[in-house]
């Protein structure tokens, strides 16, 4: 085969008006793809206006893909960097407008490979999904709430939450426990001696007989189990529950009722009073079971005849009493009669309440009546604790069976307030003394019941209800436990509009059993959720803080401060926030108390950060940084600093040069940076790098570029250990140069030239300290291009030389997306771009012609390429393209102010010969490689051979002059080689052949015959 090669002369301008070129996907290359995408977009824009929009999209997608693929580990930063910082885009755009670039053919990445595009889209999508799901967080927990349609008592449901009973159950069981021994009186558990006969009230013997008969189903042969631990007790109650269900299933209804009654009776017993709320929970569970069983049974018995139907069907969910057959109604009435004759008040109330739902079989409006009656009957319970829990149970059942009936709720609460003085009664005092319980913890036992009552009332109640309740409270109760329940039950908007009244009430509340600071905390929580009236805001804060400030114990103090910090942050300016922070510092520095409050202090910082948008104000507060210094435990300090940095990166919208902010954030960044060591996780490193880069991006000294560079110098000194940050800084320096260039409109003055060199020097110094070789390589190229664009030829040379000498150091594999990948595609891609840059780089006057290209070829030859790979050959083909381009009298593109080889040599023969030598040598290499593939007998090798041969064929026909016989026969030989092993792609070959035909139609008349000859020989 011939090794001669004569280059076809081209007129790029003319060609671009005839052809539109389709690009090919470049290989993965973090920096290039973004720039190339831009280039492609620009190119397409000039050539083919119609496709503009699509390509812009493609460019954006490519930028995103670059972000996704960036081994620089800084996805977000890279994306923005690609969009904001690319210093070359301007230059290349300029260059491109000169004409289409044949060299870019193998390089330009206008078309994204679909997979990475999908990945990019997926990434964006998932991040949106992520925020979406977190946003929907607060609304959860509302599900399962009853929908209450219309009631004059109610106001519209604007997302008000109602915490259902089941949610409270567990908390109550956990909170109210005891280590004391409990006892249980029942006739259904273990068999043993019939010891304790229940004492009857004094009656004549004669009637007693009858009474016992009547009372029979209350059980007379009861047994008392003593000395039970809490766990035993709970097990026993569960046994009773099982027993109840068992009896029911065995059709022993009376026994079931007896069990229910005995259970209810346990609630009259206040023997171990600390355990009472938990006991209430356990036993009402059983009663609920009982109620459900009775209801289900009657419903089952109430199968009715639909009008016209022959077979009876079970009642629908929304049945009316008229559908219930008389027999079922009779059964239902029997239950109520039986229960009405229960001798003792408390079991009678509880059991009737338990089967309250059965009233729906009788009449429609029975609920209102029954709930009102039972509420009044509860007044007969003397023990105030037992009484309030009975009310809670009634409201609980009423809430589920008749959510629209609400009148009785207020009645229950007023009764409770009226009877609240009972807690001071001698009976209660006696119980407390016997059991050694103080009044405070006794009052705490009321909390669950009162909270439930208030919640039922407050749910969708108008504001007037709150006012009424507050009045009752103030007149009759004044207990902090109750006040807290009121504060938590009503919606924050109501509380905040009554805030001044609340501060007054808190001040005067009787704080037995509930600390005043907890009240302030609850109030604070409300006020944070809903803003109080504007003119009262300061008064409220002063009023509250006057008291809280005086707390010397840091525990209650912090519990208030943690909540209240949001108040000044939301409503007031720096002065108040600062004062607040100062106050906190003062309180927690005593005895190094802050050490035990890191979570709270952290939450304070987070709350401050979440509302701040003016970071100048934040850092100008003289207490904020000292506050940060409170975190003396390294890991927490890092977390806090991270939060500060995150807030800044997220909320600081405009770049800043405020020295206060910069000082503070450099300090914060340094804390983050210094926390990274060899043992840190990659993710940690990535996060920190992201944050610091985000910060650096927000720093701008406007037109004071020197100041900006100084800042970068300082930043480099501070953040030396983070590759991503150094890469970012290098990019920043590059951007800086290009900005300077834009400012002087491409013509550097003496002063700006010096500045440009300073920036370039900055890059040159920074790049070697980057660990990642591939990044270093890319940055050398980029910085070289920047230097070139700024007419700094020696510097550009230095960069390129550095890049070339770095090539042997490239690791064979690198980690991309957590997978080990070969670096060869990256290298090939890099080299191709390097080659396109070399077109415009003028030869160094002291070194020989094509010094850089030759050096590169040497490096390629000695580089350890993968066996069974064609990377090397593809680069050689790139060199062929480059040589063809260099051969032209006018290059496809140029850089303003740089004289490329075309003007430098002006088509000098010795230069052209030099090019030819290179071509010949490279061509030889390629052909040898093709031949070696032929020796290899496997199909894979043949496929590769066919592909390469076709590629080379394409190069030859597009770059060389086929009127030269040697070239023509080379082309024909390659064509035949492609076909030889039947491993070719028919479609591709067809396109190549068509291209040749088009060319044949376009070339000069003189050469046309030769071209057509070649076309003919391809058959």
């Amino acid at each position: 085969m011939s090794t001669d090669w004569s280059v076809r002369e081209r007129d790029y301008g003319a060609e671009s008006s005839v052809h539109s070129r389709s690009g090919r996907a470049t290989l993965v290359h973090p920096l290039q793809s973004a720039t190339e995408a831009k280039k492609a977009a620009e190119l397409e824009g000039t050539v083919q206006k119609l496709k503009r929009k699509q390509d812009a999209d493609a460019a954006a997608a490519a930028a995103a893909a670059a972000a996704a693929n960036a081994d620089a580990a800084n996805a977000a930063a890279a994306a923005t960097a690609a969009a904001d910082l690319d210093p070359l885009s301007a230059m290349l755009a300029k260059a491109n407008s000169a004409g289409s670039t044949p060299l870019n053919d193998p390089l330009s990445g206008g078309i994204m490979d679909p997979l990475s595009a999908a990945a990019a889209m997926g990434g964006a999508g998932s991040s949106i999904g992520g925020t979406g799901s977190s946003a929907s967080g607060p609304t959860s927990g509302l599900s399962g709430r009853l929908s209450l349609a219309h009631d004059v008592d109610m106001v519209a449901d604007d997302g008000e939450t109602f915490e259902p009973w089941v949610a409270r159950r567990g908390a109550i069981l956990q909170k109210y426990t005891t280590s004391e021994k409990l006892s249980i009186v029942t006739s259904f558990l273990t068999v043993g001696d019939k010891t304790m006969l229940k004492a009857q009230s004094a009656l004549t013997d004669k009637v007693r007989h009858r009474v016992e008969q009547l009372d029979d189903f209350e059980g007379t042969d009861q047994e008392k189990l003593d000395e039970l631990s809490q766990q035993d007790y709970m097990n026993r109650i569960e046994e009773l529950n099982q027993e109840l269900i068992k009896a029911w299933d065995a059709d022993q209804r009376v026994k079931s009722l007896k069990i229910a009654i005995q259970c209810a009776k346990l609630l009259a017993d206040t023997a171990v009073i600390r355990f009472y709320p938990s006991k209430f929970v356990l036993i009402t569970d059983i009663l609920d079971t009982f109620g459900r069983l009775v209801y289900d049974r009657i419903r089952l018995k109430s199968s009715y005849f639909k009008p016209g139907a022959v077979k009876p069907v079970v009642l629908p969910e929304d049945f009316t009493p008229s559908m219930v057959p008389d027999s079922a109604k009779e059964t239902c009435r029997n239950w109520f009669f039986k229960i009405a004759s229960i001798r003792e008040l408390i079991p009678r109330l509880y059991v009737e309440t338990a089967i309250l739902k059965c009233y729906s079989f009788l009449t429609t409006d029975e609920y209102t009546h029954a709930l009102g009656r039972l509420s009044k009957m509860i007044r007969g319970i003397g023990d105030p604790l037992v009484c309030v829990y009975a009310r809670a149970y009634l409201c609980r059942v009423g809430w589920t069976v008749a959510p629209n009936v609400r009148g009785y709720l207020a009645g229950n609460l007023s009764d409770f307030f009226f009877a609240f003085k009972q807690v001071q009664s001698s009976a209660v005092a006696r119980i407390l003394q016997e059991q050694n319980v103080d009044l405070g913890s006794y009052l705490n036992l009321y909390a669950p019941a009162v909270e439930w009552l208030l919640n039922c009332i407050a749910y969708r109640a108008p504001e007037a209800t709150l006012e009424k309740i507050l009045k009752q409270y103030n007149d009759q109760c004044k207990s902090a436990v109750v006040l807290n329940a009121i504060l938590t039950a009503f919606r924050p908007t109501y509380v905040s509009s009554q805030a001044t009244i609340f501060t007054e009430l808190i001040r005067t509340a009787d704080c037995t059993g509930f600390a005043i600071h907890d009240l302030y905390r609850t109030l604070g929580t409300n006020l944070v959720l809903s803003d109080p009236p504007e003119k009262l805001r300061l008064t409220i804060l002063n009023e509250v803080w006057k008291v809280v400030m005086k707390l010397t114990d840091p525990i209650p103090y912090m519990s208030c401060a943690e909540v209240w910090i949001e108040y000044p942050v939301k409503h007031f300016g720096a002065a108040q926030i600062n004062a607040f922070l100062g106050d906190v510092i003062k309180h927690v520095t005593v005895d190094r108390a802050f050490e035990s409050f890191y979570p709270q202090l952290q939450s304070i910082v987070n709350k401050v950060l979440s509302h701040i948008t003016d970071f100048g104000m934040l850092f100008s507060m003289d207490k904020f940084m000292p506050f940060i210094d409170l975190f003396q435990k390294a890991s927490i300090k890092v977390d806090v600093c991270k939060a500060v940095m995150e807030a800044f990166v997220k909320r600081q919208l405009v770049p800043t040069a405020d020295p206060v902010i910069l000082n503070a954030l450099v300090y914060v960044g340094k804390v983050l940076h210094d926390a990274i060591d060899a043992l840190s996780f990659d993710d940690e490193r990535r996060q920190t790098s992201n944050l610091i880069c985000g910060f650096l991006r927000k720093v701008s000294f406007g037109r004071d570029l020197e100041q900006q560079l100084n800042f970068y110098v300082e930043a480099r000194a501070n953040f030396t250990n983070l590759d991503t940050v150094l890469i970012h800084l290098t990019q920043c320096a590059n951007t800086l140069v290009m900005r300077a260039q834009t400012i002087v409109k491409g013509r550097h003055t003496k002063k700006t030239a010096a500045f440009a060199r300073a920036c370039i020097a900055y890059s040159f110094i920074t790049i070697p300290s980057i660990v990642d070789v591939v990044s270093r390589l890319n940055l050398y190229l980029l910085a070289g291009q920047v230097a070139l664009a700024n007419q700094a030829l020696p510097q550009a040379d230095a960069f390129f030389r550095a890049a070339v000498t770095l090539i042997p150091d490239i690791p064979k594999t690198t980690e991309i997306d957590l997978k080990q990948r070969s670096t060869e595609p990256i290298l090939v891609s890099f080299l191709l771009e390097f080659l396109s840059t070399l077109l415009v780089v003028p030869d160094h006057p002291d070194h020989g012609k094509l010094y850089m290209v030759k050096g590169l070829i040497n490096m390629i030859q000695t580089y350890q390429w993968e066996e069974n790979g064609d990377g090397k050959i593809r680069v050689y083909m790139g060199i062929l393209s480059l040589m063809a381009s260099m051969h032209q009298t006018h290059y496809a593109y140029r850089i303003e102010g740089v004289e490329s080889n075309d003007t430098l040599y002006g088509g000098e023969t010795s230069f052209l010969e030099e090019i030819n030598k290179v071509v010949v040598a490279v061509n030889e290499e390629i052909l040898t490689h093709l031949a070696s593939l032929q020796d290899n007998a496997n199909a894979e090798a043949h496929k590769r051979q066919a592909d390469l041969a076709l590629q080379l064929f394409n190069l030859v026909i597009s770059l060389s002059d086929l009127s030269s016989a040697k070239n023509a026969s080379l082309a024909v030989n390659l064509w035949n080689l492609t076909k030889r092993n039947n491993a070719f792609d028919v479609a591709l070959m067809k396109r190549s052949a068509n291209y040749l035909k088009t060319l044949a139609g376009e070339v000069d008349e003189a050469k046309r015959a030769a071209y057509e000859g070649v076309v003919a020989r391809l058959k």
């Binding site: 009230s201 004094a202 009656l203 004549t204 004669k206 009637v207 009858r210 009474v211 009547l214 009259a268 009669f337 009405a340 004759s341 229960i342 001798r343 003792e344 008040l345 408390i346 009678r348 009656r373 009044k376 009957m377 007044r379 007969g380 319970i381 003397g382 023990d383 105030p384 037992v386 009764d415 009226f418 009877a419 003085k421 009972q422 009664s425 001698s426 009976a427």
Partner: protein
């Protein structure tokens, strides 16, 4: 009825008859008491041929008067219980002071409706243990030596448990037990009457009872 050829198997023969008192007498509602019983039985005899024994079966049926449709107005019965109202205590000043006031909605009660009222414990120096509502039935029988009167407690329900809050009105609510009550009845030979006791039990074991005779009627 005569039928020589009752077929094998179940033969149902419907019947009905008007229930009428003998002249000069009246039919009372079915009632099962301790000393007085009013019972209506239906007896069926089946005469059979020579070789078989005759068969007989008795079944009780209940008689209930038609509800009284007459309109009546409830008259409230107010009461006060304090040491002064006690009549079996001589030295009233030795009883620790207390005052309970209240009212019953009416003393003429419909048997199918709850017995209603309310009371307020206005004061009591000693803690109250329990307040109960006792329903008594008084049966009186005339006999040769005059008459015998016996009271039976037929229901006792607690309406207050423990030392209740002073000054708060507590409802009185009791449903008449269906099996043990009937409309108040007075005849020449016997009487069935009802009374209600409000029993206040104090913590120290003392017991105060206030008695109210009531009249039960069958009302619509």
């Amino acid at each position: 009825m005569r039928n020589e050829d009752t077929p094998n198997g179940v033969t149902e023969i419907p019947f009905e008859f008007p229930l009428k008192p003998k002249p000069g007498q009246s039919l009372y509602e079915t009632y099962h008491g301790v000393f007085v019983n009013i019972q209506y039985n239906l007896k069926a005899d089946m005469k059979r041929s020579m070789l078989n024994k005759d068969l007989s079966k008795t079944l009780e049926f209940l008689v209930e008067n038609k509800p009284d449709t007459e309109k009546r107005t409830d008259v409230r019965v107010d009461f006060n219980i304090s040491p002064d109202t006690l009549d079996n205590v001589r030295q009233k000043d030795r009883v620790s002071p207390f005052k309970i006031s209240g009212s019953l909605n009416t003393a003429t009660c419909s048997i199918v409706k709850p017995f209603l009222g309310q009371f307020v414990v206005e004061s009591s120096t000693i803690d109250i243990k329990s307040i109960e509502l006792q329903l008594l039935r008084v049966e009186t029988c005339g006999c040769a030596e005059g008459y015998a009167k016996d009271a039976t407690e037929i229901q006792n329900i607690q309406i207050a448990d423990g030392d209740v809050c002073r000054g708060q009105a507590i409802p009185v609510h009791m449903i008449f037990p269906r099996l043990f009550t009937c409309p108040t009845l007075a005849t020449k030979n016997f009487k069935i009457e009802f009374e209600v006791n409000i029993v206040v039990v104090f913590q120290d074991g003392h017991l105060v009872t206030e008695n109210f005779p009531i009249k039960l009627i069958r009302d619509a």
